[in-house]
Amino acid sequence: MAERSEPVTLTINGRETAVDADGETPFLYVLRNECGLKATRFGCGVGMCGACTVLVDGEATFSCITPLETLAGREVETVEGVSRAGEVHPVVEELIAGQAAQCGYCLPGIVMAAVAHLRSTPSANRASIAAALDGNLCRCGAHVRILNAIERAVQRMQGEETV
């Protein structure tokens, strides 16, 4: 393991944070074990299942293959951060309203991939949502409900914008 370096400073959910950990450490473990943000899940450790997805400067990113040191000065958003100040994010709200889960282990990553997609693609539709989620695996088979819920979130967000 490399020598312990200077703490890495980055913004997590709007808060500037200095993390004192080995710079090579995959960010997922930093989030879960150092920052107390444990809703981001470990699934595969090699960026193939999407359970660990967070946003880095707005881009959906697999935190399990992102070394801490690459995040210096960057902005990270996690599932704990998308619903802020008591306002539940429409994607989260619709997933719950639609009972779009069985075990739910994959959902935080799916929420983040969906949020990234909806922010970059205001005209998102079912096909584009599905394509945006193809890096996120669900084993329980809740896909249809998840797609329905995110579609409803899109409609709501579009409606709210025009108000």
């Binding site: 899940r41 470990f42 719950i96 739910g104 599905a130 394509a131 088979g141 809740a142």
Partner: protein, 700 residues
């Protein structure tokens, strides 16, 4: 009144119910695996006690507090566990009313219970469940007091109530992976690369000097490394994996499915009616189908937290059976089970006997090296693919002959399969991965599979569910392949239903009868008829109609275990480069419905998982080792590939609830097989239905 079986070991109301903290505590031995069973069980209790769902606090799968209900498996949570709670909660209600009648000195017929409060002649009284808690004696037999509501009196049961645990699963920390007690250390196992491999050499002293390592432990061929951070544990385990040498004398057939098909091990007739002799010369049909070894492939790998303190072992585990796991651990550690506390804590979705129990033993072995400190073990993705029990590979041959009217006069189903049902404690052994390679080993015993009387293992649904006079079902358990297998969702039913239902279609096609009426002609049970007609109607009566080139429709039906839920599935496929399932229509009759949305959700999930097994999945094996390491080696169905799904539920309020979680696996696969046959003109018998499998079938 016959009471549900869990009540024979836990007969008292107090085993199940307590009034506490202005809540009703319900204690169940069943555990939540993502299937929503705890919501359904809470709903049942809330119904009988007339309290809102929010007033139920459910405690589940805890050897210190809950009844021993064995394993949460076989789609029995509601059928058995839920019905035990119904009776216990009903008894608690009647005990409360009786106590109130005594205190208020009035007839119990004047009293009612609502939101936990006692009403007299409809008016509030000073009494509620909690003010009376001290005087109500719940340590009486459920059987003495139980009198559940009649179906027409139920208000909460049958409603699509929201899951009680869902929000926490999205933004919270409900999983065993998330536990972080004080002084937590992180452990990782270094597993032998095959079931038979033994550790020749590993420099443990060098391992102990790796960064962050707190302890390294070896017992026989089991090695575990414990570190002060998760990443340090991962790195140290990787170092150990790279430096360990193993004696491994791998010998395994290159094509294990063919080896299973050709096995000469002894077989066993499990069901016989009439005779299959003397029908030579009559029209006969036969199919042989197979599936490869499958992975449970849960999105979150197996995990556990263990701690040893003062001669006691305490464990948090995602196991399906806390009591059987406790007994298995007691065997391994040579200590009484009373000194082991096992508590269920959620893991990612569980579809059968995966690595959960093995990870619990791994954690216990590692925690033993750091007495007093909790150790959390999370398997790697590669561990999960390689070392968790596999879903057994199988072949099933189904054959039938017809009478002169074209009806099926006899059917024979012969199953060859690696063993199912090797859960902890079965066949008299712990059946835990690490236990088999300890200094004092507990080897995996010769498996007896699961007998048909318990729902069957390889032979689950091997008995055709049609009205056929002459039947025979047999199974041959193939023990001599070096892969560790156990129970995966629906066990043998998936392959057996695929065989029987593709045979049904082959006969119907040859006789020029549509697949729906051919099946209906062989069914007498009106509930079976209703699900087939329901699914076909939901799909818009697609059979016998013109269809576009490259598309096909198929139907599959089975009654799960021949005694549980009835399920029929109709699918539409498009076939070009590969098979794409575009639409699925299902009808399900699982008796009384507790929570219709939960039942629909389970059925949708079963359909998606079955599509994934049918079209895509196969573990790769080489010389006795599982070589699948990652999702790139084991693709599963993606968001872009899931079809539209419609599920029609048939509610039978007066019938017992039958469970639903596994009912769709076989019918979905069979419907896809039949639809592909419809689209390409030839049957594809060997799963998964990949492009290569289709090309092989067409060129045969």
């Amino acid at each position: 009144m016959t009471l549900p079986t869990p009540l024979s070991d836990a007969p008292l109301v107090s085993d199940w119910i307590a009034f506490d903290d202005a809540l009703v505590e319900v204690r169940t031995g069943r555990v939540e695996l993502g299937q929503g069973n705890l919501t359904a069980i809470a709903q049942i209790a809330a119904e009988e006690l007339d309290v809102p769902l929010a007033m139920i606090r459910i405690v589940s799968g805890d050897t210190t507090r809950t009844p021993n209900e064995g394993f949460t498996s076989g789609s029995l949570s509601v059928h058995q566990g839920g019905m035990a709670v119904r009776h216990a909660a009903s008894a608690a209600r009647h005990l409360a009313i009786a106590e109130a009648a005594k205190l208020l000195q009035c007839g119990s017929e004047r009293l009612a219970l609502t939101e936990g409060r006692i009403l007299r002649d409809g008016a509030p009284t000073s009494l509620d469940l909690w003010s009376m808690a001290a005087s109500i004696d719940l340590s009486v037999a459920v059987a003495q007091w139980s009198d559940p509501k009649r179906p027409d009196q139920r208000a909460l049961v049958g409603k699509p109530l929201a899951r009680i645990d869902l929000p926490e699963r999205i933004t919270g920390t409900p999983f065993v992976h998330d536990l972080s007690p004080d002084n937590l250390l992180h452990g990782r196992p270094v597993h032998p690369p095959s079931v038979g491999a033994r550790l020749l050499d590993l420099d443990l002293d060098a391992l102990r000097t790796r960064p962050g390592v707190v302890a390294a432990t070896r017992d026989g061929s089991f090695v575990g490394v414990v570190a002060d951070s998760e990443y340090a544990a991962i790195r140290a385990a990787l170092w150990a994996t790279n430096h360990a040498t193993w004696s491994d004398e791998p010998s395994a057939p290159a094509d294990p499915v063919a080896a299973i098909a050709g096995s000469q091990e002894s077989d066993e007739v499990v069901h016989e009616a009439g005779t299959l002799e003397g029908h030579e010369g009559q029209s006969s049909y036969e199919v042989t189908v197979s599936r490869p070894y499958l992975s449970h492939a849960s999105i979150g790998p197996s995990a556990a937290v263990a701690q040893w303190q003062d001669g006691r072992l305490s464990l948090f585990t995602q196991s399906q059976g806390v009591y059987p796991l406790r007994d298995a651990l007691a065997m391994v550690f040579g200590m009484p089970g009373e000194r082991i506390d096992v508590r269920h804590w959620p893991g990612a979705g569980c579809y059968g006997h995966n690595g959960a129990d093995d990870a619990a033993l791994d954690a216990a072995l590692m925690a033993r090296a750091v007495e007093g400190r909790p150790v959390k073990v999370v398997w790697s993705r590669a561990d999960e693919f390689r070392y968790a029990p596999l879903g057994p590979a199988m072949t099933t041959r189904a054959s039938a002959f017809l009478d002169e009217t074209g009806r099926i006069a006899g059917m024979s189903v012969a199953v060859n399969s690696a063993p199912h049902g090797n859960r902890p404690g079965r066949n008299g052994a712990p059946n835990l991965r690490a236990a088999a390679c300890l200094e004092k080993p507990f080897p995996f015993p010769r498996s007896k599979d699961v007998p048909l009387s318990s729902g069957g293992g390889a032979d689950r649904n091997a008995v055709p569910g049609y009205a056929i006079a002459n039947l025979r079902a047999s199974k041959r358990i193939v023990h001599d392949l070096p892969y560790r297998t156990s129970s995966l969702r629906s066990l043998g039913a998936f392959t057996n239903v695929y065989a029987i239902e593709t045979l049904m279609d082959a006969i119907a096609r040859d006789r020029d009868v549509d697949p729906v009426s051919f099946r209906l002609n062989h069914l007498e049970d009106p509930r079976a008829v209703a699900v087939i007609e329901g699914a076909v109607a939901e799909a818009g009566e697609p059979f016998g109609r013109e269809r576009e080139d490259g598309t096909g429709w198929g139907l599959g039906y089975a009654r799960y275990k021949n005694r549980a839920a009835y399920c029929a599935v109709v699918v539409r496929v498009e076939v070009d480069e590969a098979v794409r399932v575009t639409d699925v229509f299902a009808a399900l009759d699982a008796g009384e419905i507790i929570n219709p949305d939960g039942m629909t959700n389970q059925t949708e999930g079963g359909i998606v998982q079955s599509i994934s097994w049918t079209l895509k999945e196969a573990l790769t094996l080489e010389d006795g080792r599982v070589t699948t390491e990652n999702w790139s080696d084991y693709p599963i169905l993606t968001f872009s590939e899931v079809p539209a799904i419609q599920v029609r539920l048939i509610d039978r309020k007066d019938e017992p609830p039958l469970g639903c979680a596994e009912a769709a696996q076989g019918p979905t696969a069979a419907a896809i097989g039949n639809a592909v046959r419809d689209a390409i003109g030839v049957p594809v018998n060997h799963l998964p239905l990949t492009r290569d499998a289709l090309i092989a079938a067409i060129s045969e």
